[in-house]
């Protein structure tokens, strides 16, 4: 599997699907919430990310529901998606720990 660090939108989309399946608009709202309103995914960006994640078997369709006469799809993380998210989280945490250690040392 690809070992490169995840881009921020990809990381946030995976994170938005970590607790439960969500539909597209739900993912956009959750990403905005997770990032404190800093990241507002546009629809094209979201589906570009989702397309990559589905292709990479990190996200899959959970179910379809009819809403206002249109089919709404809910997506969920796969086991591979959860592993990728956890690996990225571990990488970010390791970086944060290393930098905190440096910051704790006051320059002479």
């Amino acid at each position: 599997m690809d070992a490169r660090p995840l881009t921020e939108p990809t990381f946030l989309v995976l994170a938005a699907l970590a607790d439960r399946p969500r539909h597209g608009y739900g993912v956009i709202g959750e990403v905005a919430g997770l990032s404190g309103g800093r990241v507002e995914l546009r629809v094209g960006t979201l589906y570009g990310v989702l397309d990559r994640l589905v292709t990479g078997e990190r996200v899959e369709l959970d179910r379809e529901e009819v809403h206002s006469g249109r089919v709404r799809r809910y997506y969920r993380l796969t086991a591979a998606g959860r592993r990728a998210l956890e690996a990225e989280l571990a990488r970010q945490e390791a970086n944060a720990r290393a930098v905190r250690t440096r910051l704790a040392v006051r320059p002479a």
Binding site: D2, I28, G44, D51, V54, E60, R70, V71, R73
Partner: protein
């Protein structure tokens, strides 16, 4: 279907198949929910904003250039753009390196080499600074393209902006602007090149080193043995654009000799590079050159034009024959068919 939905769906026709079939309904539902908030007036009279159009256009471009999820044909198109960027920026880097070395020599900053006597102070104004900066960035761009670095796109845009800034004072002199069209093509390709891993083949530094250094090694060797007044045809053959034209023609011939199943992106890339060389070669044709110079350039230009036409036709036919099925994901567990959406 509301007029607004109809307008957004029309926008989604920019997306290539099979992505359009897979995502259009879902994107429409999400977009309507994100924008209308059940406002009946907006649903009737509203339209996708410029930002929405740009958003869809970016996704369409990425998918058409072989982003993950794109079709086999789109992946081949993306590979063509990548080859144009790679080979084109390698050629630009060879010109740029010589430019940088020449500038350093003129200013006497080359170690162990005296500056030439140019009979006065060498100019170092804003134009020269800009030119040197663009030259240095061009070398960096080639390295980024070869390494598949994320900085490739912003760097390509910076080089392009620098090229435009350099060209503006030359407006009105078409002869001098023609080579700039040639120089811009690989840079535009680098700006569009889809994200991907660096070149894997261990021999690529050797191959690209030959491409970069070969023409200049030939040129310098020829200069060492040239008579005091070399013939015009010989001077023409020492022109880097003429040499690139010959190299492109040879590359096209080698690619066309391959079996039909292997054809496609390589031939198309040669066609684009050959076509891109034509403005620069045309810029070498004005009168006032030594006898034999212009006819030699003209012959090379005709050969390059034929190369562009033949490789373009073969490459297009091969790429169009590729299926519109989704390409397997890079790094996927196997090269089998794409996973179904329903889990």
């Amino acid at each position: 279907m509301s007029p607004l939905e109809e307008r957004y769906r029309r926008l989604l026709t920019w997306l290539p198949e099979p992505a359009r079939s897979r995502w259009a309904d879902d994107m429409t539902d999400t977009w309507l929910e994100a924008t209308t908030a059940d406002d009946p007036e907006f649903a009737e009279f509203g339209s996708p904003s410029a930002a929405d159009r740009l958003d869809v256009a970016r996704l369409a471009l990425r998918l058409r250039l072989g982003a993950p999820g794109a079709s086999v044909r789109a992946v081949a198109t993306g590979r063509t753009v990548r080859l144009v960027a790679l080979a084109g920026t390698a050629a630009l880097a060879s010109l740029a390196l010589v430019g940088l070395v020449s500038t350093a020599w003129l200013h006497g900053v080359l170690p162990a080499v005296d500056a030439p006597d140019v009979g006065g102070v060498v100019l170092w104004g804003p134009r020269e600074v800009l030119s040197t900066l663009v030259t240095a960035l061009t070398v960096a761009l080639w390295v980024c393209v070869a390494r598949g670095a994320p900085a490739t796109r912003p760097l390509a845009l910076a080089v392009l902006a620098g090229q435009v800034a350099e060209a503006v004072p030359q407006l009105g002199g078409p002869g001098s602007l023609l080579p700039r069209l040639t120089l811009a093509v690989p840079v535009v390709a680098a700006a569009l090149v889809p994200a991907g891993p660096p070149l894997r083949r261990p021999e690529w530094p050797v191959v690209l080193g030959l491409v970069v250094l070969g023409p200049w090694a030939v040129g310098l060797s020829a200069l060492a043995v040239l008579p005091e007044e070399p013939a015009g045809w010989l001077l023409a053959l020492l022109d880097p654009f003429v040499q690139f034209g010959i190299a492109t023609t040879v590359a096209g011939a080698v690619l066309l000799a391959r079996r039909a199943a292997a054809r496609g992106s390589g031939e198309l890339a040669v066609a684009v590079l050959a076509a891109a060389l034509l403005p620069a070669l045309a810029g070498r044709l004005p009168s006032g050159t030594p006898t034999g110079y212009a006819p030699t350039v003209l012959v090379v230009a005709v050969v390059v034009a034929v190369t562009a036409a033949v490789t373009g036709a073969v490459g297009l036919r091969s790429v169009r024959a590729l299926p519109l099925d989704p390409a397997p994901a890079p790094g996927a567990p196997d090269d089998g068919p794409r996973p179904p959406l329903i889990g």
